[in-house]
């Protein structure tokens, strides 16, 4: 993740302790935290960090393409730092746990022209649902 900090600095991002902490919290595989969870973890290291800053920083990371926003249901969005390795999500209908998964086929190829209604289709996102071992 330190290369994330490097990339951000290279893009002219002003490096502040708040931004550094948020970026560090979003480190690892299969990390899918809500904004509130990010805030809670960031606050363990930097107690005075505000919710607004966490939202701002997450929003910037998303628009820079460094983090993905995942809206699995009507509940809080989750943030996925694994943005540079295309993948989809497997969500547990019981507890909401998310795993990154890699299907063998690209669903974009499966949408015939006559089903595109003149849209310029750029992306296909698959959400698999089911029960995790604990909830089954």
């Amino acid at each position: 993740m330190s290369d994330l900090l490097e990339r951000l600095r290279g893009r002219g991002w002003r490096m502040t302790s708040q931004r550094r902490v948020v970026a560090e919290v979003l480190d690892g595989e299969h990390v899918h935290l809500t904004a509130d969870e990010v805030h809670a973890r960031a606050a363990r290291r930097l107690p005075e960090i505000s919710r607004a800053t966490v939202y701002n920083t997450l929003g910037e990371l998303v628009s820079l393409g460094e983090v993905l926003e995942v809206a699995t249901d009507g509940r809080a969005k989750r943030y996925d730092p694994n943005a540079h390795h295309p993948h989809h999500h497997l969500v547990c209908s019981g507890c909401g746990t998310i795993r990154d998964v890699h299907p063998t086929n690209d669903p974009l190829a499966d949408l015939p022209v006559e089903e595109r209604f003149g849209f310029t289709v750029s992306e296909a996102e698959v959400t698999y649902r089911g029960l995790c071992p604990d909830c089954a």
Copy 2:
């Protein structure tokens, strides 16, 4: 949609004017209204209908399997009456318009066992994103 009303009555649903109006609003192809839009349209015919009733009725229709809940982004959920014909969604990143689409392949088959992490996977939902002709 009148067969929907029949089906509901057959299931012992108590028929009230509010429920009838909500069911009638959710009629047609490519209908993807938010709860607030459903409430607004229902209120044109039945001005005193309350938001809570619309939420209750939508929730019941969803749990009866007559209507699908679609959470395309972090915004309000949308309700899709086309629940008896399996399909996926194409969403305009500009204006949020939704179309029902039918890919040629079932993505469930594309998730190998070693990518299921012990989950019992029951459903795969594809969201295609792009720009509609108006927004392009």
